[in-house]
Structure formats: structure tokens, C-alpha cells
């Protein structure tokens, strides 16, 4: 742009200088040319002044908006840090919680285990003592002994010559469900011992856990509780079977009572007819 103006100026100025005849006119054209040169053709100083303004604007932005923003970010990050350390995860309270878990382990674990391990055996005669012992031993590899000891205490199913088939069936079913329940209880006792182990492990780990590792323990504890409920349900199912058999047995007597009444009525009718 500047070169274009200079070229136009040069052509015009040269043409005027060549064309003028008198010396006075040449001087006038020269003065006019210098004026035009000064006012129009000379490069404006404002261009450099614009760059200074731009630099000042950048500096203002750095010292103003950016500095303010960085200070604000720093303030917020510092506040977050303080909030984490003093409110959400204060190390003092984390250590206090761990210490409390440790303290409660010491206070309760042995005490409660001791209470649960008190011997409850109460039988006084050898046969019942044997049965009681095997019923409460938390073992699952001696079911045969349990069955044998049960038979020794409660007797065996009558032979077919000694009782009706209905009596034998009902008696066998009663004994079977009783033994099923006793076996289920032995399984449950063994499983309960394992549950205690799991609970102790979780509690011990909790005494050393961090806020970030505790959710693993919590989740595992909840999963263990689901298992525990499942075992409770198995015990409940055994109890349902046993109770159902109990009332079925009593109901069976009612049915047989009806049969006997019918038979007795028939016998009496026959007797009266013969007389």
C-alpha cells in the first residue's frame, strides 16, 4: 500500500517538476511535494503505537483476568485439599476408627466366643449322652454314627409283623425327617464356625483398612450376609419339613381314627345282626 502511494506520488511529482518552466514554480511544486510527502506519504507513527497498545492489553490480561483466575483456582484447590483432609478424610478420625475396631475386637471377640463355646450337654445316661454328643459336635463326617446313636436311643422301625404298614411308614418318615434336621443342624453348626472365621477376618481387616479399601470389605460383608441368609433358609426349610411331618403325623391319626370308627361300626352291626 505504501509503495503504491509512493509510486503515484513519484510519477505526479516528476511530471510536475519536468513540466514547470519557471524556477519559482519549481520551488512551489517542491514545497508542495514536501508537504504531501510529510502529510500523506510518510508512514504513520500510529502503527507502532498500536503494537504498544496491544502489548499493554496482553499485560493487562495477564495481570488482570488470568492472574485473578489462577488465584481463584488456587483458592478452590486449596479449599478442596483442606476439605478432604479436615472434613471428609481426617487422618485423626480414620486412625480413631481403626483404633475403635481394634479395641472392640479385644473387648468382645474372645468374650463372645467363650460364651458360645460353653458346653450345653445335659444328658445323664450313656445312650442319650452318645446321641447328644454326636448331635452337637459340629462335624459332618459322622452321620452314620448319628443314625446309629439315634436308633439306640429311639429304637428302630417296627418289623412288618409288629406294626401296620401305615404305622411303619409314618414312623420311618418321622425318624427320617428328625435325622435330616439333626444332620442339617450339624452342617449348619460347621458352616456357622466358618462364618465366624469370615466375620473375624473382615473385622480384623477393617481395623487396618483405608477409606478407599473399606468398600471392598463392606461389599464382601454384604455378600457374606446373603450367604448367611441362604444358610438360615436351609435351616428354616428343614424346620418346615419337620413341622409339616409333625402335623401330618397327627392328621394321619385322625384319618386312621375315621377308618377304625368305620370298622368298629361294621363289627358292631354284624354283632347285633348275629344276636
Amino acid at each position: 500500500m505504501h509503495w503504491l502511494i509512493f509510486t503515484l506520488f513519484s510519477l505526479g511529482f516528476t511530471w510536475l517538476m519536468v513540466r514547470e518552466d519557471s524556477r519559482r514554480r519549481v520551488v512551489a511544486v517542491t514545497v508542495a511535494g514536501v508537504l504531501v510527502l510529510t502529510l500523506v506519504v510518510a508512514p504513520p507513527v500510529a502503527h507502532a503505537q498500536g503494537e504498544v497498545v496491544a502489548i499493554e492489553a496482553v499485560l493487562n490480561a495477564i495481570n488482570g483476568v488470568i492472574q485473578t483466575a489462577l488465584n481463584a483456582i488456587n483458592t478452590v484447590r486449596s479449599a478442596i485439599n483442606t476439605f478432604y483432609q479436615n472434613t471428609i478424610w481426617p487422618v485423626q478420625l480414620i486412625n480413631q476408627a481403626r483404633a475403635q475396631v481394634q479395641q472392640m475386637i479385644g473387648q468382645y471377640r474372645s468374650l463372645m466366643a467363650g460364651i458360645l463355646n460353653i458346653k450345653l450337654s445335659s444328658a445323664t445316661l450313656p445312650t442319650s449322652q452318645s446321641l447328644e454328643s454326636v448331635m452337637r459336635d459340629h462335624q459332618v463326617n459322622n452321620f452314620t454314627t448319628l443314625t446309629q446313636n439315634f436308633s439306640n436311643t429311639y429304637g428302630v422301625i417296627p418289623t412288618s409283623t409288629d406294626a401296620s404298614q401305615a404305622d411303619r411308614d409314618m414312623s420311618d418318615m418321622d425318624d427320617a425327617l428328625t435325622l435330616d434336621t439333626l444332620k442339617t443342624v450339624k452342617v449348619s453348626d460347621d458352616a456357622t464356625d466358618l462364618e465366624f472365621q469370615a466375620a473375624n477376618s473382615i473385622e480384623t481387616s477393617a481395623s487396618q483398612a483405608a477409606p478407599g479399601s473399606a468398600p471392598f470389605l463392606t461389599a464382601s460383608a454384604v455378600a457374606s450376609t446373603v450367604r448367611s441368609q441362604a444358610l438360615t433358609q436351609k435351616m428354616l426349610a428343614a424346620e418346615l419339613r419337620q413341622e409339616a411331618a409333625h402335623i401330618a403325623h397327627r392328621n394321619g391319626f385322625r384319618k386312621r381314627g375315621a377308618d377304625f370308627s368305620t370298622q368298629l361300626r361294621g363289627v358292631l352291626t354284624n354283632l347285633l345282626q348275629h344276636n
Partner: protein
């Protein structure tokens, strides 16, 4: 070209005769000519250099200093989170515990698979096998197996309607409970299976995802409680029916005694 050839000697003579004019023309053009930027901007360079120096200083002190402070705080947060909140060694320790618990619960699962059947006669063996089947598809066979062992409801000729109703209700409650026991066994097997899956998920979880699995486990726990309540409800029904039967026995005994007394009086009056 000829004109140019003729003009050149004329131009030279014109320049020679107008030296002042040519000098002024040359002076003005030289002054007006745009010089290279270096020369033209040299007065501004100092301003630019000072400006750039100020910007550099501002970048170093204001932005650099500010960022350094933020970095310091971030590093402190990072360190705190690594050392106190989510220490890797404790996370690994917790995962390891979950793995060892899985071993304990596998033992429990094996215990629940131990056979407990004990019946010795065919009818009772059949009913017991059905009751211990843990298979909900076998619930349909329960009533037949039950009737084979405990008998049917007496015929109308063999018992009063009241007795027949009572016997049928008692059979129904007993069979319902037996069917519920099969259901609960099957459900508890599935719960054990689900708990094992949840435990395996925990071993592969991150601290941020473990609460999600915990929430799922909580939902399973609620479900398990509901199953337990359903089984408890059947047990309560069973005991309620048992109590009602005891009461009915007293009522029927009283009725039978009254009837017997009446018949004896009739018999004595006839004699």
C-alpha cells in the same frame, strides 16, 4: 526505439540544463521512498522489546507462579489420596481378603451339598427324596408322595364333614410347607451361587466401583430377607393350623361327650 534513441541525447541535455530541478526531484523522492522495515521500526523496537520483556516477566511471575501454586496443592492432594484415602497396598490387601473369604465360602457351599437323607422304607424314601430335591420342578410330585405315606382325606361315609374339613386343611398346610421347603432350598442354592459371583466381582473391582457391587449385594440381601420371611410365614401358618387342630379336638370332644350322654339317656329311657 528510434524515438527513444532520439530522446536520450535530449534528456541528457535537459538534465544538464536543469541541475537544480533534478536535484530537488531526487532529494524529495529519496526522502519519500519507503525504506526497509528495520530502519523504519528501529524506534519501536525498544518499545517492543520492553513490552515483550514485561510479558515474559508477567508470564513467569503471575502465570508461572500461579500454576506452580496450583501444582503444589494438586501434588499435596494426590499424595494425600495415595497415602491416606486409597493406598494401593491396603486396596490389594482388601482384595486378597475377599479372595480368601471366597475359599471359606466354597467350604460352606460344599457343606450344603452333603446328603442328609435318612428314610429306609420305600414310601418314606420317595417323599423324603422329593422334599430334599432342591428342585422346584418336583413340587408337582409332592402331593402324591405325601398321600402315599399319610393317606387320603377320609371318605364322607367314614368321617363327619367337620373332621374331613379339618383333615384336609391340615394336609394342605403340611403339603404347602413341604413345597415351600423345596422352593426355599432351591432359592438358597441360587443365593449362594449369586453371592459367589458377587464376591468374584469384588476381587476385580476398583475402589470406585466396589460400592456399586455393594449396592447389588444389598439388593440381594433384601431379597434373601424376603425369602426368609416367606418361609417363616409358612412355618407360622403350620403352627397356627396345629394350634387350631388342638382347639378343634377339644371342641369335637365336647360335642361327642354331649352326644354320648344323650344317647345313653335315650338308651336308659328305652330300658
Amino acid at each position: 526505439m528510434k524515438q527513444l534513441g532520439r530522446a536520450l541525447p535530449n534528456g541528457k541535455s535537459w538534465i544538464a540544463s536543469h541541475k537544480l530541478r533534478v536535484s530537488l526531484l531526487a532529494l524529495v523522492l529519496i526522502l519519500a521512498a519507503p525504506w526497509p522495515a528495520e530502519g523504519q521500526l528501529s524506534p519501536c523496537c525498544a518499545i517492543l522489546a520492553a513490552g515483550l520483556s514485561s510479558i515474559s516477566s508477567a508470564l513467569t511471575s503471575v502465570i508461572g507462579g500461579g500454576l506452580k501454586n496450583i501444582l503444589g496443592v494438586d501434588q499435596a492432594i494426590h499424595q494425600f489420596e495415595q497415602d491416606v484415602v486409597w493406598p494401593q497396598n491396603l486396596i490389594n490387601q482388601a482384595r486378597s481378603l475377599v479372595g480368601s473369604l471366597e475359599g471359606v465360602f466354597n467350604q460352606i457351599h460344599s457343606l450344603t451339598q452333603i446328603k442328609v437323607n435318612s428314610a429306609t422304607l420305600p414310601n418314606s424314601q420317595q417323599l423324603e427324596a422329593n422334599l430334599l430335591s432342591r428342585n422346584a420342578n418336583q413340587i408337582g410330585q409332592t402331593s402324591a408322595n405325601y398321600a402315599a405315606l399319610y393317606g387320603q382325606v377320609p371318605a364322607a361315609t367314614d368321617a363327619s364333614q367337620q373332621v374331613r374339613d379339618m383333615v384336609d386343611m391340615t394336609d394342605a398346610a403340611a403339603q404347602d410347607a413341604m413345597k415351600r421347603a423345596i422352593e426355599i432350598d432351591a432359592l438358597s442354592d441360587l443365593e449362594l451361587q449369586a453371592a459367589s459371583q458377587i464376591n468374584q466381582s469384588i476381587q476385580n473391582a476398583a475402589p470406585g466401583s466396589a460400592p456399586i457391587i455393594e449396592a447389588q449385594a444389598d439388593a440381594w440381601l433384601i431379597r434373601a430377607n424376603a425369602y426368609t420371611q416367606a418361609a417363616t410365614a409358612d412355618l407360622m401358618r403350620l403352627r397356627a393350623i396345629d394350634l387350631a387342630n388342638s382347639s378343634a379336638d377339644i371342641k369335637m370332644g365336647a360335642t361327642n361327650t354331649t352326644n354320648l350322654r344323650q344317647q345313653l339317656m335315650n338308651l336308659l329311657q328305652h330300658n
